[in-house]
């Protein structure tokens, strides 16, 4: 870990000012940043500790919905009574991730900004375009069991590791940010990005911008939802494939639907066309399979991760059945519903 200047501002404007140097990193729960600093992957000259900022509330938004502060921990979010009641999909996804200790420290803003688990990104003695632009991608043609099958580029095949963000994508949350240019909101779909030719950019935050809150829209799909996560052991492991589904069922038909995938792309993966094709239809296995087909169109394996394509297809079908039946996946009972 390199030496750095540590600052602990008390208020947002000060934090934004300190964060605008281009060499600064915001420190919240620390669970990802400190890890990356120990690996010398992150080498900020300044660390701006934002833990004193007043971003720890969960409040109602006019017209329905909840605003979740960026510094609310993952655990406090998952166990908040309002979140549990209205957004059980989000709770489930959060509780599927990491460990209780990590969830107690990790914040919601930090969860959005956590970086890939790609082996090459993490090992500074290997090539990685995300870490050092121009080095090449070690994972292409390398060990890529955990890598992307969708939306990858010749520059980068990393995946986004978050579980929470998969649920937020399905919920169509809105990210509130503040930066040198002031405040703005980013639809969740636009927050993370695909690697393209700039794989070092995980998201669309402008330099110095800070996530302040996440707005959850009124529709929480509390009756029909699921978060299904498949991984290499039954807990405390990153997703190989995960599926978040939010569904509204009216008169036996799919009235509204969101599907987001984790572990398969550089961002939570959605295909609104595949969702649209299901609206108005009666839930059936054929319909679910068609949806899976639509979501995975163009999926491409890299060798070690080829299995993710059939795994994702089956996981999508199962997750849709779980949501339609109103039997969401438990994150404790490891039997898959």
């Amino acid at each position: 870990m390199n030496p750095f200047v540590y600052a602990r501002p008390d208020a947002l404007p000060e934090a934004v000012r300190l964060g605008a140097t281009g060499r600064a990193a915001f420190l919240a729960g620390g669970t990802n940043l400190v890890d990356l600093m120990k690996e010398n992957v992150a080498r900020p000259a300044e660390v701006v500790d934002i833990n004193r900022l007043a971003l720890r509330d969960i409040v109602e938004i006019d017209g329905g919905g909840l605003r979740i502060g960026a510094l609310v921990t993952n655990a406090d979010t998952a166990y908040d009574e309002r979140v549990r009641r209205r957004y059980p999909l989000l709770c489930s996804a959060i509780l599927a991730g990491a460990s209780p200790q990590l969830r107690n420290a990790a914040t919601n803003g930090g969860n959005l900004n956590q970086r890939t688990r790609c082996y090459y990104f993490y090992d500074v003695q290997t090539p990685c375009n995300k870490r050092e632009p121009g080095q090449g991608c070690g994972a292409i043609g390398g060990a890529n069991r955990i890598h992307a099958i969708l939306g990858a580029s010749p520059q980068c095949i990393a995946t986004h590791p978050s579980d929470m963000c998969v649920a937020l994508a399905a919920l169509e949350a809105v990210v509130r940010v503040t930066g040198p240019q002031g405040e703005r909101t980013i639809p969740f779909e636009d927050y993370h990005r695909l690697p393209g030719n700039e794989p070092w950019k995980d998201n669309t935050l402008a330099p110095g911008e800070l996530v302040t809150a996440i707005d959850l829209p009124p529709e929480g799909f509390a009756a029909h939802h699921t978060y299904l996560k498949l991984r290499d052991r039954l807990s405390y492991a990153f997703a190989l494939v995960s599926v978040a589904v939010g569904m509204r069922v009216e008169e036996g038909r799919v009235a509204d639907l969101r599907i987001a995938l984790g572990g398969v792309a550089h961002k939570p993966w959605r295909r609104p066309q595949a969702e649209a094709a299901m609206r108005g239809q009666a839930p059936s296995r054929e319909l679910f399979e068609a949806a899976a087909q639509g979501l995975l169109e163009g999926a491409m394996g890299q060798g070690d991760n080829d299995f993710k394509i059939p795994l994702a297809r089956r996981a999508i079908v199962r997750a849709l059945s779980q949501a339609a039946a109103g039997t969401p996946q438990s994150q404790t009972d490891k039997r898959i519903a």
């Binding site: 082996y119 003695q125 070690g138 390398g142 060990a143 290499d232 052991r233 492991a237 199962r318």
Partner: protein, 749 residues
């Protein structure tokens, strides 16, 4: 006479070191405070093979607090001859010397050590070294290395070559039932929870105290003396607590080399702690490919067993394991043959990890056995009983004892094996396919010459001591029990001291021989104390024990010596010592097999056995495996402490689950580098993975195997466990996976 139950061999006693461990007071290698100590952080090689062309350490040296950057160019001189660097494993080849020269032999090899006044400064400076390499062609891929496989002429002394019998090839050719399969185990890394660490206290008078993570303090002592030019008496190695090792502490690892080099160079105390990533730059369980051919008659009696295996080693040492002999020993086939070779890769040398050889070879063989049972149309348990051998079928020798039949029976009863539906895919619950599998385990019951001392003070406190190690194995507690048993003292009055090279001689802890060996030594030492006590009792007024001529005439119980012929006549231990004016009785004894032991070694095989039954539930569509129930019935002779012995088996089973489902070190072929070198991506079982494990110790009295009748339980729990799981997965799904671990990708078509 009091009626307090005697605490001794067979009593389930809570760990005597438990209080230290649950309160955080137990000190491990990196936790000793020594004055004026430097922190050393090792810099790993970026390449897998080649030479270091240049090291620019200027930036590192400018970091405040950094006092030195040690490399092959400025290291202090050390022993030249390879034989000076041999450790207790004595693996043939050229032992690795950290910073020995400019050669890079494997990725992550330490190529420099940054020494600083604080850990943080050393850590930062270590990232600032600019190293240029001349890279050479390399290979880490086991499949590729098979082209270079060979049978070394100089073999590891622990290696047992397979002994062929009959004409296995002909019998196989003629067999009406044939199975031919190729089986594979991935590379695994030990990953004990404590990372390898050394705190070296430089006393300044030529003496050093080395707090090292090792399984053999005297081995490290001898090694440091021989390799670094110390007089043995100037080196004391302490490993009172070891945070797991599973074989990773059998050889002195490179952190102790670096700490010693640095201390000599700086004439100061030094601590070197590996990072978790660096825990992937030394010993590991070799990758293995084994082809198995089995022939059987139409009833399912094996007529031919043929195993040919290759395991991985490094390019600088020839590590060998006993892979192919287990099936040849365990089953009664009249014809059997085995061959074994090793294949070099550009990695550190593979070496022993929990049940080396058997955990791989027996496990893979037991998957083949399961396949053959289905071919023969015989229940897998029946199939094993059908081919049961009362003798060691490879060596033709009887066993000192073999209660495997009882293990099968008791394990099957506890598990409910008779309710199994034979057809694969025939048991299900909801969306999950349920499968039941069985496998056999087999390990050596070994004994090593070991010394121990016993020191009884006039206040009735007993200290027993031995230089063996407790790496979580329960040795402190076991030796306390043996002493309590011999001298009739309550455990609270006994202290066991281990893990210190200054204590009576013991071999490195491993191979499941520690309890049998150090236990026997402690018993002998306590018996010598007992004899002196008996003589001292003569001085007690009235001579209540008059007529007791030997230990056979008395019983030690509740702190007293009782006359067997008349238990109303007794003398207190303290009373006897006071009467004889003995402030202390101290004895040291050495347990060795003796002549009768050596004869028995030649004439008989000595092994532990186990029968493992397993239930898995596999999501039919998604391939997620849950191991819901395991019963492991173990025949391991006499169990000194059922409580800690059970934990040993539980731990072996859990590691077997890892072998079956999780553990695989993944390589990048282009870089010649392990890529998932962390605990987030190298998966070991977590709490959620482990449900119900039942352990049964079947009755197996065996006075011949070792002096105490003890066979050891450190390894047997892992052996066969992964096969039982793989076999259960087949029974559940109809999918035969011959390559471990069985990760989800292998169950997705």
């Amino acid at each position: 006479m009091d009626t307090v139950m005697k605490v001794g061999i067979g009593t389930p006693l809570s760990r005597v070191d438990g209080l230290e461990k649950v309160t955080g007071r137990a000190k491990y290698a990196a936790e000793y405070e020594v004055p004026d100590m430097l922190h050393g952080v090792a810099v790993p090689s970026a390449i897998a093979r080649g030479r270091i062309a240049a090291i620019d350490d200027r930036a590192a040296r400018q970091v405040p607090g950094v006092v030195e950057v040690l490399t092959h160019e400025n290291r202090p001189r050390e022993a030249w001859l390879d034989r000076s660097w041999k450790d207790e494993l004595k693996i043939p080849g050229e032992p690795f010397r950290a910073l020995g020269d400019d050669r890079v032999l494997f990725a992550g090899q330490p190529v420099a050590l940054v020494l600083a006044e604080s850990f943080e400064a050393a850590r930062h400076a270590a990232s600032l070294l600019d190293i240029r390499y001349e890279e050479e062609a390399h290979n880490i891929d086991f499949q590729v290395s098979l082209a270079e496989k060979f049978e070394p002429s100089k073999k590891r002394s622990s290696f047992h070559p397979p002994k062929n019998r009959g004409d296995a090839e002909a019998a196989f050719a003629e067999a009406p039932l044939k199975l031919e399969g190729e089986y594979h185990l991935a590379t695994e890394h030990h990953n004990p929870m404590e990372m390898h660490a050394t705190t070296l206290h430089w006393h300044g008078d030529g003496k050093i105290t080395v707090y090292d993570k090792t399984q053999g303090p005297q081995g490290v002592q001898a090694y440091l003396a021989s390799a670094f030019g110390f007089s043995k008496s100037d080196v004391r190695v302490v490993n009172a607590y070891v945070g797991g090792a599973f074989g990773s502490g059998l050889r002195p690892q490179w952190q102790v080399q670096l700490a010693t080099l640095a201390a000599k160079h700086m004439q100061r105390s030094v601590r070197v702690v590996m990072t978790r990533q660096q825990m992937f730059t030394h010993v590991h369980r070799p990758e293995c490919r084994m082809s198995v051919r089995l022939g059987a008659d139409v009833e399912g009696r094996l007529t031919s067993v043929i195993c040919d295996a290759t395991t991985s080693t490094s390019r600088f040492e020839d590590n060998m394991e006993d892979i192919v002999i287990w099936g040849m020993m365990n089953y009664a086939s009249p014809n059997a043959a085995g061959s074994y070779s090793i294949a070099p890769r550009d990695t550190y040398t593979s070496a022993d990890m929990r049940a080396p050889g058997a955990a791989t070879g027996m496990t893979l063989f037991e998957i083949a056995m399961d396949e053959m049972a289905y071919k023969a149309g015989v229940d897998p348990l029946e199939f094993r009983l059908l081919n049961y051998s009362e003798v060691d079928a490879m060596n033709g020798t009887p066993f000192t004892s073999k209660a495997l039949r009882e293990a099968y029976r008791e394990g099957a009863a506890r598990f409910g094996w008779d309710r199994r539906s034979p057809e694969p895919r025939s048991m299900r619950e909801g969306r999950e396919l349920v499968g039941w599998g069985v496998a056999t385990g087999m390990w050596d019951a070994m004994f090593s010459k070991t010394s121990a001392s016993a020191k009884l003070s006039a206040n009735g406190h007993l200290e027993v001591a031995c230089a063996t190690s407790d790496i979580g194995t329960g040795t402190y507690t076991v030796l306390t029990l043996v002493a309590a048993d011999t001298l009739g003292l309550p455990p609270e009055q006994i202290t066991a001291r281990l893990g210190d090279s200054s204590l009576p001689t013991a071999p490195v802890e491993g191979g499941s021989w520690a309890a049998a060996s150090s236990g026997a030594a402690v018993q002998l030492a306590c018996q010598s104390v007992a004899k002196k006590l008996l003589r001292a009792a003569d001085k007690v007024e009235g001579r209540p024990l008059n007529g007791a001529h030997s230990l056979d005439d008395v019983v030690f119980e509740g702190g007293r010596m009782l006359l067997k012929s008349d238990p109303t006549r007794s003398v207190g231990i303290v009373q006897a010592m006071q009467a004889a004016e003995l402030p202390v009785i101290e004895e040291e004894e050495t347990a060795s097999g003796g002549i009768s032991g050596m004869v028995s070694q030649m004439l008989k095989s000595r092994n532990t056995h186990s029968a493992i039954f397993c239930e898995v539930r596999v999501d039919e569509e998604l391939g997620q495996v849950r191991v819901t129930r395991i019963v492991n019935a173990v025949a391991a002779g006499r169990i000194i402490n059922p409580k800690t012995a059970r934990s040993q088996i539980l731990g072996g089973v859990v590691m077997g689950m890892g072998m079956a489902l999780h553990e695989e070190t993944l390589a990048d072929r282009k870089l010649g580098r392990w890529m998932n070198h962390n605990l987030a991506e190298y998966h070991v079982p977590a709490h959620a993975d482990v449900e119900q494990i039942d352990v049964i110790f079947v009755d197996e009295p065996d006075p011949e195997v070792t002096p105490l009748g003890v066979k050891g339980v450190g390894e047997i729990g892992i052996i066969g466990t992964a096969a039982a799981i793989a076999n259960a997965i087949f029974h559940a799904t109809g999918k035969r996976i011959r390559s471990l671990p069985i990760t989800i990708d292998k169950l997705i078509d």
